[in-house]
């Protein structure tokens, strides 16, 4: 299989893996797994209170997703900068 095609198939598989749960568990809340862990902690130790609070919390879900988007964009920006750089370098040779 051509390398480009092979990677395309792998990426397609990832997309399937992401979409499949959404179909399988239609109507599920899809909250964070860490939130469900907090519920279990509350069951085991009802008296437990987190003993410290974060220095700063994103004021809303929108701001939080902004920060996650920035994180992903900055990371993928560098990943593709590097791949473009090495590809260009190889073409010159």
């Amino acid at each position: 299989m051509r390398p480009g095609l092979r990677n395309a198939v792998l990426l397609l598989l990832v997309v399937v893996l992401v979409v499949f749960p959404l179909y399988l568990k239609r109507g599920a809340p899809f909250g964070g797994a860490d939130g469900r862990a907090e519920e279990v902690i509350a069951q085991i130790e009802p008296d437990y209170k987190p003993w410290c609070t974060p220095l700063w919390e994103p004021p809303s879900g929108e701001i939080e997703s902004l920060l996650f988007a920035v994180q992903a964009a900055a990371g993928s920006g560098f990943v593709f900068y590097y791949l473009g750089y090495v590809k260009g370098r190889q073409n010159r040779q």
Binding site: K25, W56, Q71, S76, V79
Partner: protein, 221 residues
């Protein structure tokens, strides 16, 4: 998480960070051209840990992305990069938080890379093709990260003196959710690894990874 566990996990993680810093310094001094590739490994972790993906349990979690850097630069170097990513998330996103940073760093930046690296080396030693070894290493590194998280929580919150009952509960939440995500992480790591083999062969040679000739010199940590 109670204070004594926070302190304990900081203490356990610290030596790996020092080891990783020394290993990175030696590697980059040996060949400054590798700095770019190190940046790529860090950026890959940055992207993957920002992606919260849905899973078959009906809840979401995110992959770690530490496998790629671990098999390129050795696990200790990845302890440093993984901790930097976690620090960013703890400070800006209150995701994890500073009190649990030590515990999170141990599971994602110590256990994850060491499992990924160990599995990768083992499978390459058994003469499995590189993509298979990369996939299995990255996927198991991801999964074991969340098994570790479950264990850490169970240790901190035992139920009636037993660690096993809460462990089963936390594993049911984290580890099961993580299975499809670990597969995704394995696949994505193989995609980037394939691209590096194709376009960045000279850097992989410097690191002693050159699958075409079956040479798998150890990237010394």
């Amino acid at each position: 998480m109670p204070l004594k566990w926070c302190v304990l996990w900081y203490a356990v993680t610290l030596p790996f960070l020092l080891w990783g810093l020394m290993s990175i310094r030696r590697r980059v001094q040996g060949d400054p051209r590798l700095k770019m590739l190190l940046g790529l490994a860090g950026a890959f972790t940055f992207v993957l840990s920002a992606l919260k993906l849905p899973s078959v349990t009906g809840s979401c979690s995110h992959p770690t992305g530490v496998g790629l850097g671990a098999l390129l630069f050795g696990p200790a170097a990845m302890s440093v990069l993984g901790t930097i990513v976690l620090l960013f998330q703890a400070l800006l996103l209150a995701h994890g938080g500073l009190s649990t940073l030590g515990a999170n760093a141990f599971s994602m930046a110590v256990v994850g890379p060491f499992v990924a690296y160990g599995v990768y080396r083992l499978l390459r030693g058994l003469r499995l093709p590189p993509p298979a070894a990369v996939f299995t290493g990255a996927a198991l590194g991801d999964l074991l990260t969340y098994v570790t998280t479950s264990l850490q929580l169970a240790l901190a919150f035992p139920q009636g003196g037993s660690v096993l009952a809460p462990l089963a509960k936390f594993m049911g939440i984290f580890a099961v959710t993580q299975v499809p995500l670990a597969v995704s992480e394995g696949l994505l790591t193989v995609v980037v690894f394939n691209l590096l083999v194709r376009y960045s062969k000279s850097e992989l040679e410097m690191l002693g990874i050159f699958p075409e000739r079956g040479k798998i010199g150890a990237p010394r940590a």
